[in-house]
Subunit: 336 residues, 2 copies
């Protein structure tokens, strides 16, 4: 296997995918720091809105790889790390290459601008997979070029675009994904997911703006649709139903500060940025032209049980996959 | 992400998996060479029987990473590389760590012993994931300890065991895997696989000892069951059928040097070491207690079509997965 820019960028992209959706409303971003030709010092990501950006986490980890007992290890806020590194880097990064999946931000928001930090640390080279399309944050590469830091843009751009895609979509409109769980052979009957997969679904519910579910599922299963496994926030719910009559004594309707819409007008989804659908193949058929992703949880067992119930033809690209415990998670992007 | 022994060993294991089955009758083995603390120089694997072992490929690549124009690049046979490195290493590996998924062989066979090469190159440390259980080849760690090379055994041992498992099985008996292809939702109707997935299946056919197939499939589909997409060798065929009457004019029976068994006695499979089953769920039901793996090719599309046809309950562990073009390949080990 070739150990080159693509290899290091792939490590950054894979690390970022671990926090895909979790970083909402921010993009998932990964960063790798390499000293000299191929001494790998850090593989980090942006984990959650309000926390440090990928570059900051990676630069901190890289410095601590050499100086594990440095006082830097006690600094946790982005601002503290910025300030400490700018004062104490002592040229440490001058022979380093920094691989980042998205152009470093040029904008002082909740956290200081990464481009400014890199400008001060003066790494030998910054390799960027995808430019920033956000009018407020962009311009990071320009800032670095102006102080003569070597910049390379476009390494693994297609993979970085797929990583960035949910952000691009929710930032300019609505990103809609369908969560499904099945066995290896596609059976959707009965209880399928493990506890760790269920906890992951609750982690997603804690992040999304809105959950869409079919009226029949609400009537039959009477789900609460909260995020209790992780003590998280319960999202607003959109019940897709022509028949507007529901037993509002079920727990779903009793959650404080939750809005519940009952409607068959899907246009209302577009008031939200980040929508998860949980449901059956019926709803999949209705939504298929508006869907961005299917997030498919696959439990590795074969069971007798029905799979496709309708005439549905959809083609996907597997943009990423990972494990949740022993189960697979696949991020499937609808081909248009 | 922590950059530690596990991180480097995982790179070696993943590289080796690319050649799982293809290395038959040899085990799939991977090797990573790291200079100093974390300067990654090579990620290589054993690719095919008769070719260089993983360690030899990795040590060569590591040396060439520093000296890309060295005459070593013209050496391709294992013996040549051994001899050249032993003469010309000049202490290059003394500050290197060598990660290898299987204990280096201690036995001069088709290729010289890797333990002997490492003994001469004297790396700082050799990290071995799994000891060699083969009576002929084992003892490599002992050889290295005797010359005071630091040895660590057991890093990611469970993952290395899964990598080694097919070899352990075919080396001491018969390894049987079931090749299946389906859509995302488990449909097995119609033509499913892409051309690259078909070529991969032919690559497997070229390597296996025996292919098992059901009598009805032969009668209905009249398949040739050769490896023509890769101009490879056609394996022997075992037609599982109570009814022994077949039209022997179909191409399957016309391939020179191919043995075709027609039998309903599965015990005969045990005369072979490496058996692939291609067939329907019926055959899966018959074989489920003898099966080691399912190798599942998943085409990322949803199509209306049947999945499980029988009452089958089998649990699996996903031991590895990869891509073949846009399709997924999953290596599923039956849980016992």
């Amino acid at each position: 296997m070739k150990i080159n820019d693509n290899f290091f960028m792939k490590l950054a992209i894979d690390e970022a995918w671990k926090y895909q959706f979790i970083s909402f409303p921010n993009p998932a971003v990964g960063c790798v720091v390499v000293k000299g030709e191929s001494e790998i010092l850090a593989i980090e990501a942006h984990k959650e809105a309000g926390q440090a950006h990928a570059e900051v986490n990676a630069l901190k980890a890289a410095f601590l790889k050499y100086y594990p007992n440095d006082i830097l290890k006690t600094k946790s806020s982005s601002k503290q790390i910025h300030e400490y590194l700018i004062k104490n880097h002592n040229g440490f990064f001058n022979d380093c290459k920094v691989y980042v999946t998205l152009e470093p931000c040029n904008h002082e928001g909740k956290t200081p601008a990464c481009a400014n930090l890199l400008k001060e640390l003066k790494p030998q080279k910054v390799i960027v997979a995808h430019e920033d399309l956000n009018n407020i944050a962009k311009g990071g590469c320009e800032t670095l070029k102006n102080v003569n830091i070597d910049i390379d843009i476009g390494c693994m751009k297609k993979e970085a675009y797929e990583l960035l895609y949910p952000f691009l979509k929710w930032n300019s409109g609505t990103f809609i994904f369908y969560k499904m769980a099945q066995t290896l052979n596609g059976s959707i009957d009965g209880s399928i997911s493990s506890n760790s997969a269920k906890a992951y679904v609750h982690t997603l519910r804690d992040k999304i703006d809105l959950m869409l579910i079919g009226g029949n599922t609400v009537r039959t299963d009477m789900p609460t649709l909260d995020a209790r496994y992780i003590a998280g926030r319960a999202p607003d719910v959109f019940i897709y139903s022509k028949n507007k009559v529901f037993d509002t004594n079920i727990p779903l309707f009793k959650i404080p500060n939750r809005k519940v819409h009952i409607s068959d007008d899907l246009f209302k989804l577009l008031d939200y940025k980040f929508v998860m659908v949980e449901g059956t193949y019926n709803l999949l058929d209705t939504l298929k032209d508006r869907l961005d992703y299917i997030v498919l949880l696959v439990n590795p067992k074969i069971r007798n049980g029905a799979n496709a119930l309708n005439e549905i033809d959809i083609d996907f690209e597997i943009v990423h996959e990972n494990y949740i415990g022993e189960e697979k998670i696949m991020f499937l992007k609808r081909k248009s």
